[in-house]
Structures are given as structure tokens and as C-alpha cells.
């Protein structure tokens, strides 16, 4: 059947299961937009293309499905770049559709022409330039397949204006992907399983390092079984939070730069690290010279290029985490390691004082109060917290207890400020029944706050908690520690966020006292529409503990005068 490239685009997207796209029109993508009215796909109009990419990313992380962003050529396409890199670093499956100038004009520096496939080459899993309508169906099928299979990632499809306009015979069935070099499905050798099992059974002080791969692979059940059967404790990466319930007695908590002290000490004292779907990022290892010096290492990872990249491992099991664990599980024996668990408890007892949340209410509002109260109010219900980047992100990771996968969405690898608000929009579109909370700093919020208009236009119930300390807080913290408190360019003169919200037609509120936190959260949850709460917190508060960049994992900067009060909260 004859169809235009623009019609083929939307039909292919529908066939891939796409129901929503996030986009912004412009000259070179107009033929596609013209054909949109005959499609069942709902288009979410963003206010900046970066928002479209983050929304597609948030949609993907909340649902596990491929998120789609659409932009025009030139500046539309370049505005996607930060969002694409964010998705790349966190292995998030998105497909970006960009318009391109007519194929005859390519290379002529035409109006709004940019070489977006060249620009995005190192930040996409793969990308395509389509110059003929006839190539479109196969290319789109390949794009979705590549984005979602193996280690997921972003794929960009750049479509020239004439390819959108011209017609060709369209047959979905015969437009099969042709990817002769693409091998997403790898599996380990039997010998490698045996070696791994031997290490696991001989270990006296093992610890599981659990990452984002567990969520991507859908291996939560298998991880749970592994932990229960083996009795081995679990430490999580930032993106792994939620992959294993925080309330489980063998869940130690988050590791790394702002991980709890006992978690990092446990890793340093371990004799075996079982790394599952994580990549030994520098934020979780500290300096590699002294990282887990007495530990053998097993690495279960879908991407062979991650093996021995940062940390040299003894056994590598390259494959999908769920498949690998299913193979391992029947052969896992429970070994009594009470001594090891007791010694972790002793470490924990020494360090488990949650100083901030135990502070008496002296009238000062701390971010930890806000996060902790938010967690208490929303626990047990289907809640998705979307955080930005900085101090509030780390406090959220420390004080919000995630029980479910995909209940935390955050930019870990690239650390993209401005991610939270648009990603939350994507998450809410993907999971309308989930209660979505944006936890964002005053700095990051202002990078993408134009998307408040998108929330209103789409009538989305998204709650926004601004942790407002009047600083670029994490940068200020680094200046305090490493640059003699020289606060260059970190104090922020902010607008009245409550009024900003109200200007967009969003209910706004300002909270300055701890006693107001719970009522404000409760009122926000009751309110039908979106709510923005501006929490004015202590200005020069600090995230502890902290492993300085390049320091050893066990050398943490601790709170200067620990408050010796026992926790009443857990």
C-alpha cells in the first residue's frame, strides 16, 4: 500500500506499541506533524527539546518501554543532546526522531541544518540518517529493537524532509530488521558458572553489589531468591535503589561516595564481591588502588565492554542478569556466615546514627526532614520519586526507603541537572496511576522549569518538592571542603517559586518549619491538580558521609560532631 514517509513513521511507531511521544515541531519535521492527526498517538508538546528527551527517558525508566522524543532539525536536534547523553549513561531505551533538511541540501549549511548523526555518534547506542521513504520502516524497526535489547540505550533516527514527503509501498511485515553484526544475547560458558559457584561457596565475607541492571533485566525475583538462599547481604548503587527492598534485613543500603559508612566498610572488608548489573563507576569505588583489596570479584554484566574496565575481576558472567541468576540459583547453597553478618551489624551500630532526622525540632528545616516526612507519608502506596542532581538527590537516596523497582528515577551516570521535572512528566504519562513526586534543588529546577507549562497543558497530577537552600548546594559543599569555603558563583538569588507556580496555574506553597512539612505533603496529595511546594531549608547543610573524589572508599568525611542519639525512626 502506498504511503508517505510521514504516514509510515506514525504507523511504525504504533506497531512498536508507542502511545505517547514528546516533541516540538519545526520546519524540517512538519510533514510528520501534518500526518499526526490521523494517528492514535498522543503528542505531548514540550517547552524545550531537552525536556522531550528527558520525558522520553522518564517514560522509559518508569515503564520499561521505549520512550520517544520528536524534534525538528538544527537547534531542535541539538537541544536533545543532553537528554540523549543522559539516557546513554544510564542505559535507558529511547528513540529520538529528528527532522532533517531535504536530502539534496545536505552538506550545504542549509537553514537549520546540523549533522545530528555526527554529533550524537558517541552518545547513542546507534543512529541513522534516512533519506528515502522506502528505508523508513526497516530503520524504525531496527531502531526500536536496538534501543530495547541487550544493554538498552538511545537510538536517533534523522529523517530528511523529502523522505517524509515522498511516497512508497509500505509493508511492515517485509521490512524486517537486518542487523548482521548485532549480538545482544550473550550467555556465559558452563565453566564460568562453576568458577563463580566455587567462589561464592568458599567465601566467608561476601557481599552482593546490586545495580540498575537488575531493574532493566527484571531480575528482582531472582535477586531476592539469591539473597534468601545464600544469606549474602546486598549493597546498592544509586540506580539500583528499589531493585531490592530497603526493608529487607540483608539490605545494607547505598554504597559509594555518599553511601552509608557501614556499607563502604563492608565492601572494603569483604573477601568476595558479587557485582550484579553494575559497572564499578568511580562514584561507587573511590580510588581503585585500595578498592576491596582482599576481595575476589564476580561480575555479572550484559555488556562485555564493561568487564575489567575499571575493576579487574576474577570471574565474568556475560549475559542477561535474570537468565544468569536462573542458571545459578539451583546450585546456590546456604553457607553459615553469621560471624560476617555480626561484624557488619557492629559496623552499622557504630555508624547508623541518622543525625539529622534525630535532631530536635529547633525551628530549622533540614532537607532530610522533608525527605523523611515525604517517605513516611507516601510509604506503602505506589509512589515514583524523580530526583534531580545534587545534595537533595543524595539525601533522597539516603532517607527515602525504596521498596519497589522503578520507584526512584534519577540521572546517575551523567548527573544532569534539570532532569527531574521533565523526567517526572514522562513517568506520569507512562504510569498515570502512580503518585509522582519531583524532588529537585532550586538550581536544577530553574534549568527546565518551563516544563511547568507542559504539566498544565497535559493536565498531569505531578507534585513538586523544591529543596530550596539558595545555593548550588553540592557545588557549595565541594567549595567548603576542597576550596576553602570560597563560594564563587554558588549563591542563588531565586524567584518566589510559589508565585512562579501560581503564574502557571499550579497550586503553590512555601514551607519554612518542620511542623509544616507533613500538612503540606498531605494537602498536596489531596489536591486534584499539580502542586509545587517550596521548602526553604537550611542554607549551608552538608551531605555526610562523603568519600572525596579520588579517596579510598573507607576514608569518609564524617559529620564533625556526631549526635549520639539512637534512632527512633526505624
Amino acid at each position: 500500500m502506498m504511503k508517505t514517509g510521514a504516514q509510515i513513521l506514525w504507523e511504525c511507531l504504533e506497531r512498536e506499541g508507542v502511545t505517547h511521544v514528546f516533541g516540538y515541531p519545526g520546519g524540517a519535521i512538519l510533514p510528520a506533524y501534518d500526518a499526526l492527526k490521523h494517528s492514535k498517538i498522543h503528542h505531548v508538546l514540550v517547552r524545550h527539546e531537552q525536556g522531550a528527551a528527558h520525558m522520553a527517558d522518564g517514560y522509559a525508566r518508569a515503564s520499561g518501554q521505549v520512550g520517544v522524543a520528536v524534534a525538528t532539525s538544527g537547534p531542535g536536534a541539538t537541544n536533545l543532546v543532553t537528554g540523549i547523553a543522559t539516557a546513554m549513561l544510564d542505559s535507558s531505551p529511547i528513540v529520538c526522531i529528528t527532522g532533517q533538511v531535504g536530502s539534496k541540501l545536505i552538506g550545504s549549511d542549509a537553514f537549520q541544518e546540523v549533522d545530528i548523526t555526527g554529533i550524537t555518534l558517541p552518545i547513542t547506542k546507534h543512529n541513522y540518517l534516512v533519506t528515502h521513504a522506502g528505508e523508513l520502516a526497516r530503520t524504525l524497526r531496527e531502531a526500536f529493537y536496538v534501543a530495547r535489547s541487550g544493554r538498552p540505550g538511545p537510538v536517533l533516527v534523522d529523517i530528511t524532509k523529502d523522505a517524509q514527503q515522498s511516497s512508497c509501498d509500505f509493508d511492515w511485515e517485509s521490512a524486517k530488521p537486518q542487523l548482521p553484526g548485532y549480538r545482544p544475547d550473550l550467555s556465559p560458558e558452563p565453566k564460568e558458572y562453576e568458577e563463580a559457584l566455587k567462589l561464592i561457596h568458599n567465601a566467608k565475607r561476601p557481599v552482593i553489589l546490586l545495580g540498575h541492571g537488575a531493574i532493566v533485566s527484571g531480575a528482582m525475583r531472582e535477586v531476592h531468591d539469591l539473597v534468601e538462599r545464600s544469606g549474602i547481604p546486598v549493597a546498592l548503587t544509586l540506580l539500583g535503589l528499589g531493585a531490592f527492598p530497603a526493608s529487607h534485613p540483608l539490605n545494607l543500603g547505598m554504597m559509594g561516595m555518599h553511601g552509608e559508612a557501614w556499607v563502604n566498610h563492608t565492601i572494603q572488608e569483604a573477601d568476595l564481591l558479587i557485582a550484579l548489573g553494575m559497572r564499578f563507576d568511580d562514584r561507587v569505588t573511590g580510588t581503585l588502588k585500595t578498592y576491596a583489596p582482599n576481595a575476589k570479584k564476580i561480575h555479572v554484566e550484559i555488556d562485555p565492554a564493561e568487564i575489567n574496565k575499571n575493576v579487574k575481576v576474577d570471574v565474568a558472567l556475560v549475559g542477561d542478569l535474570r537468565d544468569v541468576l536462573r542458571e545459578l540459583l539451583p546450585k546456590i547453597e546456604c553457607v553459615d556466615r553469621q560471624e560476617w553478618l555480626d561484624s557488619i551489624d557492629r559496623l552499622k551500630g557504630d555508624a547508623a546514627v541518622r543525625d539529622i532526622q534525630n535532631l530536635p525540632d529547633s525551628g530549622h528545616l533540614y532537607a532530610a526532614h522533608v525527605i523523611n516526612d515525604l517517605w513516611r507519608e507516601t510509604r506503602g502506596s505506589d509512589t515514583t520519586v524523580v530526583t534531580d542532581v545534587g545534595q537533595h538527590q543524595m539525601w533522597e537516596a539516603q532517607y527515602y526507603k525504596h521498596e519497589e523497582p522503578r520507584s526512584l528515577i534519577t540521572s546517575g551516570g551523567l548527573g544532569t541537572m534539570g532532569f527531574a521535572l521533565p523526567a517526572a512528566i514522562g513517568a506520569k504519562v507512562a504510569r498515570p496511576d502512580s503518585e509522582v513526586w519531583v524532588v529537585v534543588g532550586d538550581g536544577g529546577f530553574q534549568m527546565t522549569m518551563a516544563e511547568l507549562a507542559t504539566i498544565v497543558q497535559e493536565n498531569l497530577k505531578v507534585n513538586i518538592a523544591i529543596i530550596n537552600n539558595g545555593y548550588l548546594g553540592m557545588v557549595r559543599q565541594w567549595q567548603e571542603f576542597f576550596y576553602e569555603s570560597n563560594y564563587q558563583a554558588t549563591p542563588l538569588l531565586n524567584p518566589d517559586f510559589q508565585k512562579v507556580a501560581e503564574a502557571y496555574g499550579i497550586r503553590g506553597e512555601t514551607v519554612t518549619q518542620r511542623s509544616q512539612v507533613v500538612p503540606a505533603v498531605q494537602a498536596a496529595r489531596r489536591h486534584q491538580g499539580p502542586v509545587l511546594i517550596n521548602f526553604q531549608v537550611e542554607q549551608e547543610d552538608t551531605v555526610y558521609p562523603m568519600v572525596a573524589a579520588g579517596a579510598a572508599l573507607h576514608e569518609m568525611i564524617r559529620r564533625p560532631s556526631p549526635i549520639v542519639e539512637t534512632s527512633a525512626d526505624e
Partner: protein, 182 residues
């Protein structure tokens, strides 16, 4: 240590950029890269030499495989192989020096492919050491211009790469309906 990779890629626009960009992005230094056609029009073959230790070499291989257009990577460093570089060397050869230069070219089994009143062009094929050797002895006469192709390599014996083996289709469908190589 110098590693030699033979890399089969899909013959499509932009694939060379993807490969070169990968080496730059991961901070591996390409010593030599050649690319050309194979017996199958849809497949190109690259020979890449890189200074890398064993771990790095493994990571280069793994990263190359992450490129969707890469079909097969073989690290033939440790295997018996024929490795060849081709050079054309323009040497100053005046009347009195000419016979010396011709003699040296003959010793290295170089061929004279151009003769001009003041110069000669010598074409030489061989491993890199042999070409370096000829260059060294020609230096005193005055090397005016030189071009080298970079190395190409092939394993000895009857072992061939499956990607280009006769009768082997690049597109055999598997159950997903997605088509893979062998």
C-alpha cells in the same frame, strides 16, 4: 605491545567514522588503519594496529562489537600471519647516485616505478621493518617524498573468517525475525 585486529564491517556510509570515533572516544591510539573491499560487496575489511596491553586489547575488541555495523573482530596478534605494508618512496637520484639507489632497491626487492632526471620512485611491499630498513639506507641520498598504505594482514593457512566464507549469507533469519550473521 602492538596488536593487530582484522575487523569486518558492513559496507555502509559512516562506518569508518564510527570505528575511528570509538578509538578516539576510549582514548586508544590507532597506529595504523586500512580499509578496503572484500570478496563480498556488502562487507568491508579493516586492518587496525593499536598499541595496547592484553586487557586493553580485550576491551577494544568488546567495544568494537558494540558498534552495530561491526560484523567480526579477530585479534591476530598472536597468530601466524602475513603482514604487509606498501610504500612509494621518491628519492633524489642524480647521475652519480642513481646506480647506488637502484642497487639498494634491488637488495630490498623494491621496484622502480618512475624514473626522472633528478629522482626515482621506488615501490616496496613488505612488513614494516623491511620498509623502515630501506628508508634508512635511502636517507643519505635524500628522500623527497614518501607514502605508506598502512598495514594489511591475513592469517596463514586455510583458516578463513566465517563472515566472508563462500556461500555464507549475512542475513539468515532467526526466531525473532531479526536477522543475524552466522
Amino acid at each position: 605491545m602492538l596488536n593487530t585486529f582484522v575487523v569486518y564491517v558492513e559496507n555502509k556510509p559512516g562506518v569508518l567514522t564510527r570505528v575511528a570515533s570509538l578509538f578516539r572516544r576510549r582514548a586508544f591510539n590507532i597506529d595504523s588503519l586500512t580499509v578496503g573491499r572484500t570478496e563480498k560487496p556488502e562487507v568491508s575489511r579493516m586492518t587496525i594496529t593499536v598499541d595496547a596491553d592484553q586487557d586493553q586489547a580485550r576491551r577494544i575488541e568488546a567495544n568494537l562489537y558494540k558498534l552495530v555495523n561491526v560484523l567480526l573482530v579477530e585479534n591476530i596478534t598472536a597468530e601466524p600471519a602475513i603482514v604487509r605494508d606498501l610504500a612509494m618512496i621518491k628519492v633524489a637520484a642524480t647521475h652519480e647516485a642513481r646506480s647506488h639507489v637502484l642497487e639498494l632497491a634491488g637488495v630490498f626487492r623494491g621496484r622502480v616505478v618512475d624514473v626522472a632526471p633528478e629522482s626515482l620512485i621506488i615501490e616496496i611491499t613488505g612488513d614494516e621493518d623491511k620498509i623502515d630498513g630501506l628508508l634508512e639506507v635511502l636517507q643519505p641520498y635524500g628522500v623527497l617524498e614518501m607514502v605508506r598504505t598502512g598495514i594489511v594482514a591475513m592469517r596463514r593457512g586455510s583458516k578463513c573468517s566465517s563472515v566472508v566464507a563462500p556461500g555464507n549469507s549475512l542475513t539468515s533469519a532467526d526466531d525473532d525475525g531479526v536477522q543475524y550473521s552466522v
